[in-house]
């Protein structure tokens, strides 16, 4: 019997944490066995179903950090404890590391949440994590306090207005962290693609490996509908991504330039 992760199962909202003015973490009462970097599809019947990166799957609970930015996420933000949503997954590739490595993370916006999940796993494998996060201002930082509590994680904060940590872009701070450390094994990044492009360029310059979460418009989640195919290799990012190694990302024609909307129009960053 084939094990199916492609049909939605009902999950109950156990808790809701307001992380900042835009983002809530929804704690669901199920585990889907997701690994850091993977995503799930969340279904509100008769409304829509959208992909979300997993902020934590600890075998008992599934955490999703969701920003109120569109009709679906707005509907999510109206949910109360005890409400149910459908969940299917996990889908896609995951962030990977080896025991005892020195890792640098670059998270921007909501990208910090899945990286927190990966930091949680990486330090359990004896890795040291330089966790670089950025936001426009202090009160928009996400999962920074949680990351600080992990032993083996050094949090480096950048804010555009200097209200906390380094004043400026987190990519500049990443460069400083990577070049000063000199022994970074791999850079991991999740968040806005222009930021990720800078991280990729840094990785090339410094001859460091990188794993990049490439986000495209996903519908089915299992490589059939074709909407999330990246240009260049042409592979569906829901199956061969979202997390891709630097080498594959550098071969893409669209990375850092454009993505596509739900009918396939190019949308330039």
């Amino acid at each position: 019997m084939l094990i199916l992760n492609t049909l939605p199962v009902a999950a109950t909202v156990k808790a809701i944490v307001q992380e900042n003015e835009q983002v809530k973490t929804f704690v669901l009462d199920i585990s889907v066995g997701a690994q850091p970097g993977q995503f799930v599809m969340v279904w509100i019947p008769r409304m829509d179903e959208k992909p979300f990166s997993v902020a934590m799957d600890n075998g008992k609970e599934l955490h999703l950090a969701i920003a109120d930015v569109g009709p679906f996420s707005h509907a999510m933000h109206q949910l109360k404890v005890g409400d149910q949503v459908g969940v299917r997954g996990p889908f896609g590739t995951e962030f990977t590391c080896e025991k005892g490595q020195h890792l640098a993370f670059l998270g921007g916006g909501y990208g910090a949440a899945p990286l927190y999940f990966f930091a949680y796993k990486a330090v359990a494998m004896g890795c040291t994590v330089e966790f670089v996060v950025g936001a426009r201002r202090k009160d928009l930082l996400l999962y920074t306090e949680k990351a600080k509590q992990l032993k083996g994680v050094n949090v480096h904060v950048a804010t555009n207005d200097g209200s906390e940590g380094f004043e400026g872009f987190n990519t500049v701070l990443l460069e400083k962290v990577v070049t000063e450390a000199t022994d970074i094994d791999c850079i991991y990044t999740c968040g806005p693609e222009i930021m990720q492009l800078k991280a990729a360029e840094l990785a090339v310059r410094e001859n460091v490996e990188a794993q990049i979460s490439v986000e495209r418009y996903m519908k089915c989640g299992f490589g059939v509908c074709g909407n999330c195919c990246v240009d260049g290799s042409g592979v569906p990012s829901c199956v061969e991504g979202p997390v891709m190694p630097l080498k594959k990302v550098l071969e893409l024609r669209d990375f850092g330039k454009y993505h596509r909307d739900k009918v396939g129009h190019k949308k330039y960053f």
Binding site: M1, L2, L4, T6, L7, P8, V9, A10, M41, W43, P45, R46, M47, D48, E49, K50, Q84, G86, K219, C220, F222, G223, V224, C225, G226, N227, C229, V230, D231, G232, S233, G234, V235, P236, V239, E240, R253, R260, D261, K262, V263, G264, H265, K266
Partner: protein
Amino acid sequence: MADLSVEFCGVRFENPIVLASGVLGVTADSMAQVVRNGAGGVTSKSLWPYEHFGHPNPTIVTSEHYMLNAVGIPDAGPEKAREELARFREVCKAPFIANIVGGKMEDYVAIAKEVALMQPDIVEINISCPNVEDELGKPMACSIAKSSEVTKLVKAALKEAGAGHVPVTVKLSPNVENIVSIATSVLEAGADGITAINTVGPGMAINIDFAQPILANRVGGLSGPAIKPLAVKYVYDIYRAHKCPIIGTGGVCTGADAIEMMMAGATLVGVGSAVWLRGQDVFGQIVKEMNDWCDAHGVEKLSSLIGKAHAHS
């Protein structure tokens, strides 16, 4: 190593496995990836003469036996199609089948004129999608008169736009009383070949936790292994009546399935839902399995199997 090449309406394919319309096929690079993975040719997702939004999610439900989809034929319109086909020609030599669709008769004329300028190798007319009935009404493939009329109009539009040489195949619906009579009507109207079959139904899947249909559209077209016997039977029936070029599609997942479809009468074999079951490289897997079967059975030319099951009828 058998000769796997086939000729369909004068167009040569390295092997008979083509990407069926609706699966992948949004972008040139995606279709080129399908060819790199082993397909002999590709069919685009249905092209509209204007931008068309599909249905909200969930759009696809899968099980080990079937796939149910109501993606709703999303497309960005001709400008994007032109750009993608030009790119496909740059990066890939395999034949390109442009699948076209419309809501009204005049839409088919408009998109036929657009694709004529793109010079596809073959045009496939989609008149049989079962998951847009709320929007477009009963598919034209359910009516002999409408099937015939749309075929004539598309042929004329292609000719007028200087692409009269491009072969036209019409994708038929299994959800009709007599598919052979529809095939007869479109062939008499000038179609060069038939694509059979589009998805079956529509069907429905209900999530019992929510007591709700899963698909946002509630119903969707049924494809995958469950429909293969129907597809084989309809291809067999159409071939028996007309001996015409057929793209046989419906539930093909293995080399054996593809050979079965060819023996029923298909020259080309469309593969779609199998991507879900066997992954992105399913095309190459099927081609290898066909070749292995030919080698094991002393078949030197795969095309010699086309319609072979009729020898005993």
